[in-house]
């Protein structure tokens, strides 16, 4: 092992730098102690020349040696002074991949922490929505009205349209299936029971989660990134009281209303097919529809909307407040909120189906 010297050209650029690197590789075939670069002839250096210098230093270190330079003239002294830290820097150690148990433990710990955070948020939100206002701790009624308008009134058209089209599709599909038996009038029963128990609630909640759940997550995430959440906390304002409670209450109020409108729209969609295509008189279709469902069917459809509303609002808030990083974090958390919302809607629906169809008969 010995010191090895390398002479740099008068002009160090992309071309001469590449040649210098080849020369360094040629003379460093054996293990070296120190590679010394003689810069005494170098009068000019550009960015590519500097990049080749870093590559040569990296190469020398990989060969187990040290990289030094000497004799730099005034013309490139600034360059070398600024490059010095990078030239002496040790290569980045390779990242150690965690083992299977380590990954599993990290995932479980992460999930447990997130669940604890979510529970904490739920308790806070429910307290500031349902308890604190009655203890005289205040509720932002103006914000509630704004949110109700945004989440409810502005969603009416899309909710009605989606349910109407779904009613139309189900009428088309089922009428075709029962045509051979001459039982097309029972399409009205199918649509009434289907929408009252399941479809109006699940379709409306899906539209609302994509629209409102995403908006809640994006709004809170952006506020967090721009330190507005910290500003609220810094002023001693409770985030759950100021931001979450109006949203939660607004969704609790508007979602059942939207589901009711969704139910009417779905029935209208089915009726359009029944009257205009299947040729039933409107009064007959109307009587058949009304006679198909009991109040219980409508109540169980409406009852789950309360849980849907809580899930959409709190999952949106939870993901929004968990954001890390900048704009990409906002996008990721918004997507996550919608995916979690839809998954949770299905879970809640399964629980209700199990309770009403099997446990209660």
């Amino acid at each position: 092992m010995s010191d090895t010297r390398l002479k740099a050209p008068d002009k160090l650029n992309g071309e001469t730098g590449a040649r210098l690197f080849d020369e360094a590789r040629r003379i460093c075939r054996k293990d070296i102690k120190t590679l010394i670069l003689d810069l005494s002839q170098t009068r000019d250096m550009d960015s590519l020349g500097g990049a080749w210098l870093l590559k040569i230093a990296e190469y020398a270190r990989r060969r187990g040696g040290e990289f030094k330079w000497e004799g730099q003239p005034e013309a490139i002294a600034d360059f070398m002074a600024m490059l010095a830290p990078a030239l002496k820097m040790k290569p980045r150690p390779a990242r150690k991949e965690p083992g299977m148990f380590e990954s599993l433990s990290d995932a479980l710990t992460g999930a447990a922490c997130e669940f604890a955070e979510f529970l904490n948020l739920c308790v806070d939100a429910i307290y500031w929505t349902a308890v604190a206002p009655f203890e005289g701790k205040g509720f932002r009624f103006d914000a509630f009205l704004d949110e109700a308008h945004e989440m409810g009134v502005r969603a009416i058209r899309i909710v009605c349209l989606m349910n109407f089209l779904l009613g139309l599709i189900i009428a088309m599909l089922s009428a075709k299936q029962v045509e051979a038996f001459g039982m097309q009038i029972y399409v009205a029963n199918l649509i009434m029971i289907g929408f009252a128990r399941e479809l109006a609630a699940i379709m409306t909640a899906t539209v609302v989660s994509a629209r409102t759940g995403a908006a809640i997550a994006a709004e809170l995430a952006t506020m967090k990134v721009q330190e507005e959440i910290d500003a609220l906390r810094g002023m001693g304002i409770n985030v759950a009281q100021y931001l979450i409670a109006p949203k939660l209450l607004a969704l609790l109020v508007v979602l059942p209303c939207l589901v009711t409108l969704g139910l009417i729209s779905g029935l209208a969609g089915g009726a359009v097919w029944g009257v205009f295509v299947l040729g039933f008189r409107p009064s007959i279709w109307y009587q058949q529809t009304l006679g198909a469902a009991y109040m219980d069917d409508i109540i169980q459809g409406m009852l789950k909307t309360v849980f849907f509303a809580i899930a959409i609002a709190l999952i949106g808030c939870h993901n929004g407040l968990r954001v890390a990083g900048g704009s990409r974090g906002v996008g990721l958390m918004t997507t996550r909120a919608v995916v979690m919302d839809i998954f949770m809607l299905i879970c809640i629906d399964i629980v209700f189906a199990a309770i009403f169809y099997y446990l209660l008969g």
Binding site: S47, L48, G50, A51, M82, P85, A86, M89
Partner: protein
Amino acid sequence: MEDIIIKVTDLVAHYGDFKVLDGVSFEVRRGEIFMIVGGSGCGKSTLLKHLCGLMRPTSGEILFQGKNVAAMDEDELAEMQHTIGIAFQSSGLFNSMTVGDNVAMPMREFGNVDEALIDNLVRFKLSLVGLAAAQYLMPGELSGGMRKRAGLARAIALDPALVYFDEPSAGLDPIIAAGLDEMILKLKRMLKTTFVIVTHELESIRLVADRVLMLDKGKVVFCGALDEAMTAPIERLRQFFDRRPDEYIT
């Protein structure tokens, strides 16, 4: 004429009905640090956006290396923008990438550099702004001053002839701001880059500027060497450099 890199003639720009720039004319010489100064809302940042082609003027001419930026089509504009660097006030770093990948992005997109050398070139650029150790950090992990320097490293990634820098010292403490000024001077010396800097930081102007353009209500109040700016008997200029509020104007 050869040492003129930018020549602006009678530039007029509007926001709706409001005239932001009113007959602005000046020249920037190759290799100098040209500072655009003035109070808040005087049109500095708007002028900078017109110079780098991010906004189109109502009328007037902006010649960059002899070509009129105001009359360029989209392709010509994109080609021109590959030859300049822009460092934004809030750095404009992409939060989804590491600092190194931010700097490498223009090299990969537009540069003619071998992929094997890009990593070293990125480290070189980061070394020039004193951030070699931050190559693998995410922008969110950097302080305000480091973000500005990383933004500057990205702006000089392709060795542009000209760098536009919007408010380099805004929001930084005096030590970091002085370090950034020092760095701009070094980069000018080493890379022979022309800098057009928008600022209202008096210390930076005194330390860094070769020539100064002062705007007031969209009009040019003064354009000339720093020494002249420090002594010229122009009330608005004196008020600016002496830090006097408006009510003291007689």
